[in-house]
Point group: C2
Chain length 356, copies 2
Amino acid sequence: MSKTHNFFAGPAILPQDVLIEASSSALRYQDGLSLMEMSHRSQPIAEVFEEAENLVVELLNVPSDYKVLFLTGGASSQFYMAPMNLLNANETAGYVDTGTWSTKAIKEAKIFGNVEVIASSKDKNFSYLPKGFAEPEGLKYLHLTSNNTITGTQIQEFGTYKSRLVCDMSSDIFSRPFDISKFDLVYAGAQKNLGPSGVTLAIVKKDIVGKVEREIPTMLNYQTHIDKNSMFNTPPTFPVYVCLLTLRWIKKLGGIEAMVKRNAEKSNLLYGEIDRNPLFYGTVEKEDRSKMNVCFLLNDDKLNDAFLDAAKKANIVGIKGHRSVGGFRASTYNAMDIESVQALVDVMQNFEKVHG
Amino acid sequence: MSKTHNFFAGPAILPQDVLIEASSSALRYQDGLSLMEMSHRSQPIAEVFEEAENLVVELLNVPSDYKVLFLTGGASSQFYMAPMNLLNANETAGYVDTGTWSTKAIKEAKIFGNVEVIASSKDKNFSYLPKGFAEPEGLKYLHLTSNNTITGTQIQEFGTYKSRLVCDMSSDIFSRPFDISKFDLVYAGAQKNLGPSGVTLAIVKKDIVGKVEREIPTMLNYQTHIDKNSMFNTPPTFPVYVCLLTLRWIKKLGGIEAMVKRNAEKSNLLYGEIDRNPLFYGTVEKEDRSKMNVCFLLNDDKLNDAFLDAAKKANIVGIKGHRSVGGFRASTYNAMDIESVQALVDVMQNFEKVHG
């Protein structure tokens, strides 16, 4: 069977080497046991967590005043956990509204304190990122979404802000370097560039925790997980292990800089074809285009099904666009090889020959 | 290599058939993709969740006014989520304190309402279960822990209560039948009888939800997950899939009644040896002994290391007791075959010949 080209937005493609090793460890890891059968208090699992944490620190240059956590509940849980831990009821956080995920984050934050939406691109269906907006004094933090999976926008560079930053990096963490010293908190569901679903990465500046007045349930307090190295309760051991394998793979390929190069090649190839091919157009302001999720439409949307058919025949899966945007979305995360993007470009070019 | 006998308390032994199929699906499931690479919105994953939910309903005879949920965060998260969803600030819940887990549940519940600890076995290091205690009128619910992993006690039969019940069944769900109509909520971390760590089962009586006055974050509201069939956000797809495989295995072996028989044989064999062998004694009141976690000590605790060594030579892992009890704990969950218990009994008998 020829290779399947996996463009799902998440859970998403994982490196083949990772899948082979994960599959093997799901059957036998150490002492004749599956990794899934081993106590989280056993030495082999403790070593998995320690190495995974250390690799995040190494790959992202995380300084020692931050703590890397492996949590559960996805970014959707960080939407409330961040303000619950950081924002007193009488304090104000700023949010930049750039799509579905930030809109959800705003809704949850309002339960805990004052929320000021200081910029939004809702006026154009989130097809661009607001820039040059005024930043009020005295915000407890400013919340950003680095990459928007649904609409395909991405902050190209984190600029200079007066406020401390909290950022949802679910869909582009480990795709590029960033200066974490600007951030009080970075969080990411694993199921794009890091691993399978079921684990959430959080990188927390340690001295921001414990400063709100409300009583926080033990499991929802970042301090609990900082103190216990993500092992306060039984963590999702197998998902964290698959993250470890992915982190090792990133390092082996040359670290974050290698991912930058890899992702630039893929997105240049695909956006190049979208801009060249008269049948297609991109949905996003060019300067805000995501290197992770490439959204595009057919000028003639009556051809949509024919294009999906042609893609399917080329073993391409997961390119149907989100219902709020329509058309097509090709997610080209770290693990995707350029040959898969080339396969999609080939389909677009053949489609032009038939329908152009 | 000879078989490893896995007595870990959790994450714990899984059936070999489950591990073989999980390992295979971690590499290739459908369309040439690993199950871990597939969108939770794809048809194959939707079918995994639907079948898993239906099998829980079938195996436990769950009536249609209840909803089966696959959540994250473990029982430790249900400790706060249950009172957050069910208990108004001016209402009172009753808790029976039978060990570490109920003590933690009590701590979290106090954040949300009034808690009355109506019985406790703390006076004897939780080595028995309180019985015949007075049950006050007007409790919003009564919280029980069906099986205590650390001390090895287990409620043998759920009696008759005035109050509606909320129960932590993490370590013995699917080991025996129970009448769910007495319960408003049953919850269980998966990593004992159900699957790997990273997923939490909750069975919620639908009409109990939405009756508290506080504002609940979206992800923490049972109603969110009831409405979206556990797919409000990206769920832990692979862990849920492994639960599905385990549920199929339980059904294939004959359902819950087959588990009852299987577990009785194992615990009779092991408790029989503990009671017969003059070197050992059980730590728990006989009438409260757990069929899942068998706790026992050596009369001469200077022999502890020698016994652990002897067990290790017989490929027995995971029998060191929790530090709060000491000695040994053999967890004999559904997936364990009687031959593993026999291997442990053989070691105990050989140990008697040498040290008796």
